[in-house]
C-alpha cells in the first residue's frame, strides 16, 4: 500500500506492523484515534495489543500498555514465547506497562467521583516514554470495579476524547457479548475502527479469524481473514481473490525430466500452476520431487508441503530413485513441511502455506497432495481455498506443483473437474494393467499456452530417476511394458524374416537368370554350329554342282550329246538332300 496523502478527506494511518493486517486495512489503524478490538476469551486480543506496541517500538513509536487484568510480570512471561522481550523494552524506556488493578473487595463508594487518577497516571506513562501508541486491555474490567455505570460511561467518553486529544493511536480491547460486539457497548464510544477477532471450532478444528467490522473513512477488506498465532506473533492472511491482473511470465521452468520438458515444449511457465494427478502409486510424488530438485539445482528455493509423509521419509524414498533431497534440505534450498491435514482447519493450512512462503520466499511451491484437503472440508471450500492460494502464488510469481490422488475406478478427470479452471498444466498419470502387470504412463491433459505433446508416454522409475520410454506406436495401438517389449520383439522377428525371404527370393531370381543366360549361351552355340553346318553344306553343294557341270561338260564334250540328257541326273541328286 503506498503511503496515503494527508489530504483532509483521507485518514492518516498507523501501520500496525502485524503481518497482513495493514494490507487489509489499507495501511494500518487510524492514526491518532482509538480502535476497538473485540472478541471472545482466548481469541488473541491481548496479544494483538502487545504486538501492536512491540511493532510500534521497532517503527520508532514507543507505547503504553495499560493492563487491567494481568500483572506486568505475567504479561511479560506470556509473550516471551513469541519472542517479545517486554522487560527489555521497558528498561529501554520504549514501553511502559501501566498495571491498573481494581480490587472491588477493598473499595467502597460514597458520593461523587471521577477517574481523574486514571487520566493522570496514563498521561504520566505516555510522557515517560513519549508514547505514540496506547493499548487498554481490557477496559471493561472497570465496569466490575465500579458500581456507578453512569459515571463510568461518561468517564469513558471523556477518556476516548482525551486519547484523541493526546494524538495517540489507541487500541482498546473488549470482551465480546452475546449478540453484541462488546459486553458494555464500547463500540458506542469507539466509532472509528472496530476489529473483531474470532476463534471458532468447526469439525473439531479451531480456526482464528479476523474481520474489520467498521473503519470510518476508509475502504477495507470486509471478509473474514484467517490468522495464526505462532512463535512469531500474529499473522493475518490477506489472501483473497486478488483478481486476474497478475503478470504472465514467458519463462519456462524445467521439470527436471528432460523428456517431459520436451512434451511440454520446454517446461511449465514460471508462476503457473501444475497439477499431477493419478491413482495411488502412479508416481506423483516422484515427479513432484523432480520438480523440487530441478528448482533447487537452479538455485531457486522450494517449499514442499507434504501431507502424507515425513520429510525424512520423503528424502529416503526419493533417494531410491536417485534424487538426493537431503543435501538441498541441509543447504536450506528445500523446505519440507509435513503435517497431517486433519491437524488444522483449511484456513489454517492456507495460513501456514502463506506464512512459509513469506518466510522462505521460494520460487516453487509443492503441495503433495491437495486431495487430502477434501477430507477436512467440502469440495466447494477447498476450491475457494485453492483459488486464493493460486491467486496469491501467481501474484508472487511462484510456480506451483500440486499432486492429486484420484480414486481408482471413478472417472479420473471428474474428481478434479472443480479445480481444473485453476490449473494451467495438468499432467495425468495412469496405470495401465495388462498381461498381469501394471505400467505407468503419463500424458499432458492440458497446458495453457503450450503446444504440448498429445502423446501418451510410458515411464519407469529407475535408480537414475524417472525415464520416459520411446512410445511404441504400431498397428496394434500404444503398448506398454512387456507387451510393448513382446511386440517389439515380434516386429523385429518379422522384419528379419522378411529380409531373409527377400534375400532368398533375390537369390532365386539371380539363379534363374543365370540359368536362362546359360541356356541362351548354349542355344547360341547350337545356332552357331547349325549355321556353320549350313555354310559348309552350301559350300560343298556348289562345289559339287560345279564339278558336275564340269563333268557333264567333259562328258558332253566326249559324247557330243545334247544338253537335254544332262538335266536328269542333277534332279536325282537334289532328292537325296531331303530330310
Amino acid at each position: 500500500m503506498p503511503p496515503r496523502s494527508t489530504s483532509a478527506a483521507e485518514l492518516a494511518k498507523c501501520p500496525t506492523g502485524i503481518a497482513g493486517l495493514d494490507e487489509i486495512t489499507g495501511g494500518g489503524l487510524p492514526r491518532g484515534r482509538p480502535t476497538l478490538i473485540c472478541g471472545g476469551p482466548g481469541c488473541g486480543k491481548t496479544l494483538f495489543g502487545i504486538e501492536f506496541l512491540v511493532r510500534g517500538v521497532s517503527q520508532g513509536e514507543p507505547g503504553v500498555f495499560v493492563a487491567f487484568e494481568e500483572r506486568p510480570e505475567e504479561l511479560a512471561q506470556n509473550v516471551t514465547s513469541l519472542g517479545f522481550d517486554l522487560q527489555r523494552l521497558q528498561r529501554q524506556k520504549k514501553l511502559f506497562v501501566e498495571y491498573m488493578h481494581i480490587e472491588r473487595g477493598e473499595i467502597d463508594e460514597t458520593g461523587e467521583y471521577d477517574l481523574d487518577a486514571l487520566f493522570f497516571r496514563l498521561g504520566d506513562a505516555i510522557d515517560t516514554v513519549g508514547a505514540k501508541r496506547v493499548v487498554l486491555d481490557t477496559l471493561e474490567t472497570l465496569f466490575s470495579g465500579f458500581s456507578n455505570d453512569a459515571i463510568l460511561r461518561s468517564e469513558l467518553r471523556r477518556l476516548f476524547r482525551w486519547l484523541k486529544d493526546r494524538g495517540v493511536t489507541a487500541v482498546i480491547t473488549a470482551e465480546r457479548g452475546d449478540g453484541v460486539l462488546t459486553r458494555q457497548g464500547l463500540e458506542e464510544y469507539v466509532s472509528d475502527c472496530v476489529i473483531l477477532l474470532d476463534h471458532r471450532m468447526s469439525d473439531q478444528v479451531a480456526t482464528r479469524r479476523l474481520r474489520v467490522v467498521k473503519y470510518r473513512g476508509t475502504s477495507h477488506g470486509t471478509n473474514e481473514y484467517p490468522f495464526l498465532i505462532d512463535k512469531d506473533g500474529i499473522d493475518v492472511l490477506p489472501i483473497t481473490s486478488i483478481g486476474l491482473s497478475h503478470h504472465a511470465s514467458t519463462e519456462r521452468v524445467a521439470s527436471g525430466i528432460s523428456d517431459l520438458d520436451e512434451m511440454l515444449a520446454g517446461g511449465i511457465y514460471r508462476g503457473s500452476t501444475a497439477l499431477i494427478s493419478g491413482t495411488a502409486g502412479a508416481g506423483k510424488s516422484s515427479i513432484a520431487a523432480h520438480f523440487a530438485r530441478a528448482s533447487c539445482d537452479r538455485g531457486e528455493r522450494c517449499v514442499m508441503f507434504a501431507y502424507e509423509e515425513s520429510p525424512q521419509q520423503i528424502a529416503r524414498n526419493m533417494k531410491s530413485i536417485g534424487i538426493d533431497l537431503n543435501a538441498h534440505i541441509r543447504s536450506g534450498m528445500l523446505q519440507c513441511i509435513a503435517a497431517r491435514p486433519t491437524t488444522f482447519g483449511l484456513e489454517m493450512h492456507l495460513a501456514t502455506i502463506h506464512k512459509a512462503i513469506r518466510k522462505h520466499s521460494p520460487r516453487m511451491l509443492i503441495v503433495d497432495p491437495i486431495t487430502n484437503f477434501f477430507s477436512i472440508a467440502s469440495p466447494k471450500e477447498v476450491k475457494g481455498m485453492l483459488m486464493r492460494l493460486v491467486d496469491f502464488l501467481k501474484a508472487e510469481q511462484i510456480t506451483a506443483v500440486f499432486t492429486s490422488l484420484t480414486q481408482g475406478g471413478s472417472a479420473l478427470e471428474a474428481t478434479e473437474a472443480g479445480i481444473s479452471s485453476l490449473i494451467d498444466t495438468w499432467l495425468l498419470l495412469r496405470d495401465i494393467e495388462s498381461n498381469g502387470e501394471r505400467n505407468r504412463t503419463m500424458y499432458v491433459l492440458k497446458s495453457r499456452g503450450t503446444a504440448h505433446s498429445n502423446q501418451m508416454r510410458e515411464f519407469v522409475l529407475s535408480k537414475a530417476g524417472i525415464r520416459l520410454i520411446e512410445p511404441y506406436l504400431g498397428v496394434e495401438g500404444v503398448l506398454t511394458g512387456s507387451s510393448r517389449l513382446a511386440q517389439e520383439a515380434k516386429e523385429t522377428a518379422a522384419t528379419i524374416q522378411k529380409r531373409d525371404e527377400t534375400t532368398r527370393k533375390r537369390r532365386a531370381i539371380e539363379r534363374r537368370t543365370k540359368e536362362i543366360e546359360a541356356q541362351i549361351a548354349t542355344l547360341r552355340l547350337e545356332m552357331a554350329a547349325e549355321s556353320d553346318e549350313l555354310d559348309r553344306l552350301l559350300a560343298s553343294d556348289s562345289d559339287r554342282e560345279r564339278m558336275e557341270s564340269e563333268d557333264l561338260a567333259i562328258m558332253a564334250a566326249s559324247r557330243k550329246s545334247s544338253a537335254k540328257s544332262a538335266a536328269r541326273p542333277r534332279h536325282g541328286k537334289r532328292e537325296g538332300f531331303a530330310p
Binding site: 501501566e98 498495571y99 491498573m100 488493578h101 481494581i102 480490587e103 477493598e106 473499595i107 467502597d108 463508594e109 460514597t110 458520593g111 461523587e112 467521583y113 471521577d114 477517574l115 481523574d116 487518577a117 486514571l118 493522570f120 497516571r121 498521561g123 504520566d124 472497570l142 470495579g145 465500579f146
Partner: protein, 108 residues
C-alpha cells in the same frame, strides 16, 4: 499537606494513617477534603494522620497505591487497607467502610 488533629472521642487505641488522593481544587476534591476533616474530628479523636496527595502533581504515588478514581481515601493503618472513593459526603458509609458500624445496619 500534613495534619494531625486532636479530638475527644477515641474509638481505637492505635493511630490511623489516612491518605486522600485529590486533583487540584476541583469541587469534588475540595468537598472530600472538608468531609474527611469533619469525619476525623468527629470520630477519630487525635489518633490519626492525614496525607493529601494531588495526583496531578504526583501521578507516580497514585500508581503505587493503584488509584484510579478521584477522590480516593486510603486507610493505610490500621490494617486491613481500605479504599473509599467519592467525596465522602455520606459519613455513615465511611463508618461502615472502616468497620466502625456493622455492615448490615448500613445496607438497611
Amino acid at each position: 499537606m500534613r495534619k494531625a488533629t486532636k479530638a475527644e472521642a477515641i474509638t481505637q487505641e492505635e493511630s490511623w494513617n489516612l491518605r486522600l488522593y485529590v486533583v487540584g481544587q476541583t469541587p469534588k476534591s475540595v468537598a472530600a477534603i472538608a468531609n474527611l476533616k469533619k469525619f476525623c474530628a468527629e470520630h477519630l479523636g487525635n489518633q490519626y494522620t492525614i496525607e493529601i496527595i494531588d495526583v496531578a502533581a504526583n501521578p507516580k504515588i497514585a500508581r503505587r497505591d493503584q488509584i484510579v478514581a478521584i477522590p480516593t481515601l486510603v486507610r493505610k493503618l490500621p490494617v486491613p487497607m481500605r479504599k473509599i472513593i467519592g467525596d465522602l459526603s455520606n459519613t455513615e458509609r465511611v463508618l461502615v467502610s472502616f468497620d466502625m458500624r456493622p455492615r448490615t445496619e448500613a445496607s438497611s
